[in-house]
């Protein structure tokens, strides 16, 4: 959409530029929202997740009468207001107790949303391990064949990776690897979330031996309702900008051993201009001018 109104202030321009679509996007932000009713479990679980996501978050403090599987528009609208493209909504009701709805949007419309019921919960405060540093990038591990075989579960796995992956970086400090988030698909319907702190021990090789200390939260989920984008929309959302695509170089290939093979075209060699060895014999003699006829007998 082309904006017609003139931007009046510098700050307003900066805000709009920040929110505009870009080739390399900003880190996705997450909106934390509470549904009609919440209980202690939901509140604590959301706080734990909030601490894990922290700088990239917005929190709505009040309870909101949102029933996302009936009408998802309010949370999408709230997302566009706060410029957050991911959300989690915690709610507790008699029929659907202890539910967290994880979701994400694309271009102002809902992409994926999955309602996960907490079946077992242990808060992060129950573990004595020190918690994750603000804004650090966690490692994510997905386990279980359900993430491969079941298409819905695969998408939920994708959603979880998107949700938990943290800021984008190209360099990391090796000591800064201090969180490992593990999702295990116990079956097609249930998930286990565990968060560990890796402890690097000495080993016989250059790579350290990794031991894990649980850091919490530890949550078991059961997949309840879900609303996942159809493949066409998902494919559209995954489209990569052309500017970021690597241009294929012509006539270049790689063999099995990783050697680059290329065809090289050599232009015509200009042997006349190239400096070669100077030998008297090869020197070009200037053309002898045709002498007048009467002089010929003199030479003889």
């Amino acid at each position: 959409m082309v904006r017609v109104e003139k931007i009046k202030t510098k700050k307003g321009k900066r805000v709009l530029d920040e929110r505009a679509s870009k080739t390399v996007e900003n880190d996705k932000k997450t909106l934390f929202c509470r549904g009609t009713k919440t209980n202690e479990i939901i509140n604590h679980a959301m706080m734990d997740l909030y601490d894990m996501k922290k700088p990239l978050t917005t929190k709505m403090d009040k309870h909101n009468p949102y029933h996302l599987f009936e009408d998802e528009t309010p949370i999408v609208r709230a997302g566009s207001k706060f410029d957050t493209s991911m959300f989690v909504l915690g709610s507790n009701s008699k029929k659907k107790p202890n539910c967290l709805t994880f979701g994400r949007t694309y271009d102002g419309q809902l992409l994926d949303m999955a309602e996960l019921r907490i079946t077992a919960y242990k808060s992060a405060s129950n573990f004595e391990t020190s918690k994750m540093t603000l804004g650090s990038k966690p490692c994510i591990i997905l386990e279980g064949s359900a993430f491969e075989s079941d298409s819905d579960m695969k998408r939920i796995g994708n959603l979880m990776i998107d949700w938990f992956r943290g800021p984008k970086t190209d360099t990391i400090r090796l000591e800064g690897l201090e969180t490992v988030i593990v999702f295990t698909a116990l079956d097609d319907k249930s998930l286990a979330l565990r968060v560990y702190r890796p402890l690097l021990k000495k080993s016989s090789t250059a790579t350290p031996r990794v031991e894990l200390a649980e850091m919490g939260p530890s949550i078991n989920f059961e997949v309840m309702r879900k609303k996942l984008a159809d493949d066409a929309l998902f494919k559209l959302a995954c489209k990569k900008p052309k500017a970021l695509m690597k241009k294929r170089r012509k006539n270049l290939s790689e063999d099995v051993f990783g050697n680059q093979l290329a065809r090289v075209h050599v232009g015509k060699q200009r042997t006349d201009d190239i400096q070669t060895r100077k030998v008297k014999a090869l020197r070009k003699t200037p053309l002898v001018e045709a002498a007048p006829e009467n002089e010929i007998p003199m030479e003889e």
Partner: protein
């Protein structure tokens, strides 16, 4: 810990995306699911870390860092791909001519006050609209005119022109043309766009909306300074079901009176035609033995049409004689 090995074996190759620090284990889970969680996690983490440690390491201020490769796991974007922006007319022209943008300083030195002032905007330096004196040029047509106002007007015009050009550029970007007035293309059933409604139309819409309550707008409060709806429709009022007879008689007589006073509008030709041909002609025709003919309807129409036409002509070309008109027609 006794075990210090870092080797982990996997039957199926896992998906590892180091750009996202992501590890997807594709092996099916075995054994007790809940018991083996931590051990499996440890193995997978170990494998991921083995991969990370193989990346090129670099020391940056006491810390060892690695550069992550670009991500491979596809995740959806947050917003649409940015659209290519159409260059403005000036940008096109500048590119054609090879004109490059030169940056101006944020502040300029104001000669009058001997101060550095902003180049543009509020309290800008060298602001010629703020001059307290303007020398009247020698070649001025009218030395008494307001030169201050002229400058202000010129500035306003420049601003307006720039805005117009901006709008035109926007229209070019959106591949539309600037509309000069309310749109003429209307979609049936949709109604007028709110922006194009006239003041009166908006007024009517507000009035109608106000009445659309359960109590027909009886308790609807007006806004501050809002005009009361003047043009409300008339409400029909009926007579009472039981009324004295005297009134009824009067009313019936009134109706009769009205009906009597109506006079029929008579078109002469039509009347004549219906009455039949004139008596003299009738006698003549009887004498000649021709059949008594009544004129056909189409003939009457033709005559009427012709008469109307002549009348119209007379009105239209006042003063022109009938002969002239005839000649002209020839």
């Amino acid at each position: 810990m006794a075990d210090k090995s870092t080797e982990v074996e996997k039957a199926i190759d896992p998906i590892i995306d180091l750009g996202n620090l992501l590890f997807i284990d594709r092996e099916p889970l075995q054994g007790d699911l809940n018991e083996g969680l931590e051990e499996r996690a440890r193995k997978n983490t170990q494998l991921l870390f083995n991969n990370i440690w193989q990346l090129e390491q670099k020391r940056v201020e006491e810390a060892i860092t690695v550069t992550l490769p670009p991500t491979t796991y596809r995740l959806p974007r947050e917003k649409k791909l940015p659209e290519k922006k159409e260059p403005t007319k000036w940008e096109k022209y500048a590119k054609e001519k090879g004109i490059e943008k030169r940056k101006k300083d944020k502040k300029v030195f104001d000669e009058a006050t001997k101060e550095w002032k902003p180049t543009y905007g509020y309290r800008r330096g060298n602001d010629n609209t703020k001059d307290w004196l303007i020398e009247i040029p020698d070649n001025a047509e009218d030395p008494n005119k307001d030169f201050f106002a002229e400058r202000r007007e010129q500035k306003k015009e420049r601003v307006a022109k720039n805005e117009m050009q901006r709008m035109k550029n926007l229209a070019r970007q959106m591949k539309t043309t600037v509309k000069s007035g309310p749109s003429t293309e209307k979609i049936i059933g949709v109604g007028i766009d709110a922006k194009e409604k006239s003041k009166q139309q908006v007024r009517f819409a507000v009035d109608r909306a106000k009445l659309a309550t359960a109590s027909a707008g009886k308790f609807q409060e007006g806004l501050k300074g809002e005009k009361v709806n003047v043009k409300t429709g008339k409400k029909r009022k009926f007579e009472a079901n039981e009324a004295p007879v005297s009134g009824e008689k009067e009313r019936a007589l009134q109706i009769l009176q009205r009906m009597k006073s109506k006079k029929a509008k008579i078109v002469e030709e039509k009347a004549a035609a219906i009455a039949g041909p004139a008596r003299e002609q009738k006698e003549k025709k009887e004498k000649s033995g021709a059949k008594a003919q009544t004129r056909q309807k189409s003939q009457i129409h033709r005559q009427q049409w012709f008469k109307n036409k002549v009348d119209g002509k007379k009105k239209g070309t006042a003063g022109a004689s009938k002969k002239k008109g005839a000649n002209k027609r020839k």
